[in-house]
Symmetry: C2
Subunit: 194 residues, 2 copies
């Protein structure tokens, strides 16, 4: 895809190079698969393709960063100290967007929000944020009971796909007795519960 | 049981009369069953019996009150307006304790906390609050998959019973796509998640 440089000051290839340098080849393949299905969703729902490509490519930018990087950000005072009780799984989105902004010179607020919310979701999510959230869940490499339903829903009704993913993720976390970030419940209450 | 009037200014029979006057006979039978197993737990774990009896008898005191009563309490400013998004299921404990205090002249803070927390639990719960929370879940009239495990755990390790109930309740709510009160997730994160 030819970038207009409206969202990232360089070509797609330059962005790919920067992103792939921060992670394992395995994770980078995931990122490319997220981009692929995110673009399909963007086309289907009329979202801007370049914006979607940039958001998808950078969504896991901070996934392999050391914990200290995130703790330093928390200690700067921008985030609640409560965030320290969580780990990379929560940090790489919410705080990771800061590194995307600073290091990749991406300032588009919709892209940064899509990165911030891609793991927990939120009460209110832009169409782009919904696309990245869902694409991350259904990309071709995913294989779990329910993924076929999630893929079908994604191309039927984006909000239903967000709801399905949120419910499924929460059930998975609780079954495994993993800590639940409060924002995930806000997402659930807004998108799933009646 | 002979009351010392330390916690309620009257006899147990007088308390029973006041409580049963506020609810259906069916609900009042539940209340008596909660008292029964709560006293067994209190005996087992060395909690004070009179306090336990009072807390058990009043835990659902506000369960059949009209919504307006709770909304009036919220509007007095003591509670977040967010509480309005919930209903009696959440209100009758958290706000219900106010009516227990005012109308039944019960001022013991441990009893009032046990009433407040009996549906949602909390990050920190006194032994009495744990007993009422668990007793409400396992009383003889309860019948659901897992109740036998809950009953066994209750007399093995009270904290494990709190954890089991919290996980089970959350799974039930999510399966049914019912709104989850944020405090329930705090309870889950503190008692269930690793």
């Amino acid at each position: 895809m030819l970038y207009s440089k409206q969202y990232f000051p360089g070509t797609r290839e330059e962005l790919v190079k920067k992103v792939s340098a921060t992670m394992s080849p395995k994770r980078f393949s995931h990122v490319l698969r997220v981009e692929k299905v995110a673009l399909e969703l963007a086309e289907y729902y009329g979202e801007e393709l370049e914006k979607t490509s940039v958001a998808a490519l950078v969504h896991d930018y901070a996934k392999e960063r050391p914990d200290e990087d995130f703790i330093r950000q928390i200690d700067k005072g921008k985030y609640s100290q409560d965030l320290k009780a969580y780990g990379n799984e929560i940090w790489h989105g919410i705080i990771g967007a800061d590194f995307v902004a600073e290091e990749l010179e991406i300032s588009d607020e919709a892209i940064l929000q899509a990165v911030r919310l891609h793991t927990t979701g939120a009460k209110e999510m832009s169409r782009l944020a919904q696309i990245i959230y869902v694409a991350d869940f259904i990309e071709d490499g995913r294989d779990f009971p329910g993924v076929a339903t999630a893929r079908r829903l994604a191309f039927e009704n984006l909000a239903s796909a967000v709801a399905f993913e949120t419910k499924h993720t929460l059930q998975f976390l609780i079954e495994k007795e993993v800590k639940v970030y409060p924002k995930t419940i806000e997402t659930y209450n807004a998108w799933v519960a009646n």
